[in-house]
């Protein structure tokens, strides 16, 4: 704890030298690198927020697309249902027509059969009538003479 001028001056000189060294070789590169990092970080943050915005936009677009697709598919299903109903209705109509036609054909056939039976019956009746009349009249009726009359009777049956 004694006064020592040379120590003081020596300390002052080394102080100056260390400060000069620090000024030239230590402080500038460190502060520069820190500034660089600062701008890098700012840039990165900016990019991140931009990317976030892009993601939001993309999400919104995707949601819109999805909605549109859903709507389209719903429309398609409704259309298909209508079409199916229509096809079933058409088929029903066609089947009805077919059934009607078959029924009509059958009816006509039945009518024909009835007429044919009636004709046969009529012929047999006229024969029977002639037979009966022959038996009643014995030989008094000439077949050739009375043919016209017999035909008339047969036609009336």
């Amino acid at each position: 704890m004694t006064f020592s001028l040379l120590t003081m001056i020596g300390q002052m000189i080394s102080f100056v030298l260390f400060v000069l060294f620090c000024m030239k070789y230590v402080w500038p590169p460190l502060t520069q690198i820190m500034q660089e990092r600062q701008s890098l970080l700012a840039e990165g943050l900016e990019k991140a927020s931009a990317a976030e915005k892009q993601l939001d936009d993309a999400n919104n677009a995707a949601a819109e697309e999805l909605d549109a697709a859903k709507k389209q598919s719903a429309d398609l299903i409704a259309q298909a249902r209508n079409r199916a109903g229509q096809i079933v209705d058409d088929a029903k109509g066609q089947a009805q027509d077919e059934a009607d036609r078959i029924k009509q054909g059958a009816q006509a056939e039945i009518d024909q059969e009835v007429n044919r039976a009636r004709e046969t019956l009529r012929k047999q009746v006229s024969v029977l009538a002639i037979d009966g009349a022959e038996k009643i009249l014995e030989a008094s009726i000439d077949k050739k003479v009375h043919q016209t009359m017999l035909d008339k009777i047969a036609a009336q049956l």
Binding site: T7, M12, I33
Partner: protein, 278 residues
């Protein structure tokens, strides 16, 4: 003292004596072997231990930081770069808060140098007081103080260095004439008070480097004295009970004093720059 067990007073005296190189009264140069011899040498002496530690630790600071700047990256920093950047950012924030963002190439590196250098010199205080002095005894060195900041010559050397810078900036900002007239016209701007003003301003001017340097010296000296007293007064097996808590507390003091020395440097330089604004 050789061979005998020193008395408490001798032990303490031994620990607070620097390794002094100077001119003996008989005209030869050499080391002082006692306090009396040192006092006879006058002021043209060198405290070799103080200079050794302050220059070594200053080179440790420069070396570490210079080595650290060799592979810097603006990407993810490594742990060492992280430490350096933390120190630089801490200093830079303090400079910005006190000094502002005025362009000045010297205040940042100056503050960083002071902070780290003074911290390293203070840090030597945590080495047990007898380790290094006892070790160098084997190579014939009688006195060897380890903490350079417990030498007022070292702390005043730095504070006067800062003082020169303050004066330089004061003159640069307000001009040589403004600087001198400022010493008369403040704080009372009336011609009658000019002599009184001058006395006050001179006291103010000189008190700055004195209090600046002596504050650091006083705190470190007192702290080291506690360690020396514990070592001198307690038996070796009981010393830890006091040295350990004091050392832990001292971690705060050594960092705080380094910080205070740096902050005062910034404050004085700021005052020098603000003087022109009056």
């Amino acid at each position: 003292m050789s061979g005998e067990t020193p008395t408490t007073a001798e032990y303490i005296q031994h620990h607070i004596t620097n390794l002094t190189y100077g001119r003996h009264p008989d005209g030869t140069w050499g080391f002082a072997h006692s306090l009396a011899e040192e006092l006879e040498m006058g002021m043209w002496t060198v405290h070799v231990d103080t200079m050794f530690w302050s220059i070594s630790l200053g080179m440790v600071f420069c070396g570490l930081f210079f080595w650290g700047t060799k592979n810097l990256t603006s990407g993810v920093p490594g742990s060492f770069q992280n430490i350096l950047e933390t120190a630089v950012e801490f200093v830079d924030n303090n400079v910005k808060q006190v000094f502002g963002t005025r362009p000045n190439v010297i205040i940042g590196p100056l503050s960083l140098t002071i902070l780290v250098w003074v911290f390293l010199m203070n840090l030597m205080d945590l080495i047990p007081v007898d380790f290094i002095p006892e070790a160098v005894k084997y190579v014939g060195i009688e006195h060897f103080k380890v903490v350079a900041t417990t030498d007022p010559n070292a702390t005043l050397g730095m504070s006067i260095g800062v003082f020169f810078l303050v004066v330089f900036y004061s003159i640069k900002i307000s001009g040589p004439i403004g600087f001198v007239t400022g010493k008369f016209t403040h704080p009372i701007a009336h011609p009658i008070a000019y002599p009184l003003n001058f006395v006050l301003e001179m006291v103010d001017l000189i008190a700055k480097p004195l209090s600046h340097g002596l504050r650091l010296f006083g705190n470190m000296y007192a702290g080291e004295m506690i360690f020396i007293l514990i070592a001198a007064l307690l038996p070796f097996y009981a010393q830890w009970a006091l040295t350990l808590p004091w050392a832990i507390f001292h971690i705060l003091i050594i960092s705080l004093q380094a910080f205070v020395f740096m902050i005062l440097t910034i404050v004085y330089l700021t005052q020098a720059h603000d003087a022109g604004d009056h």
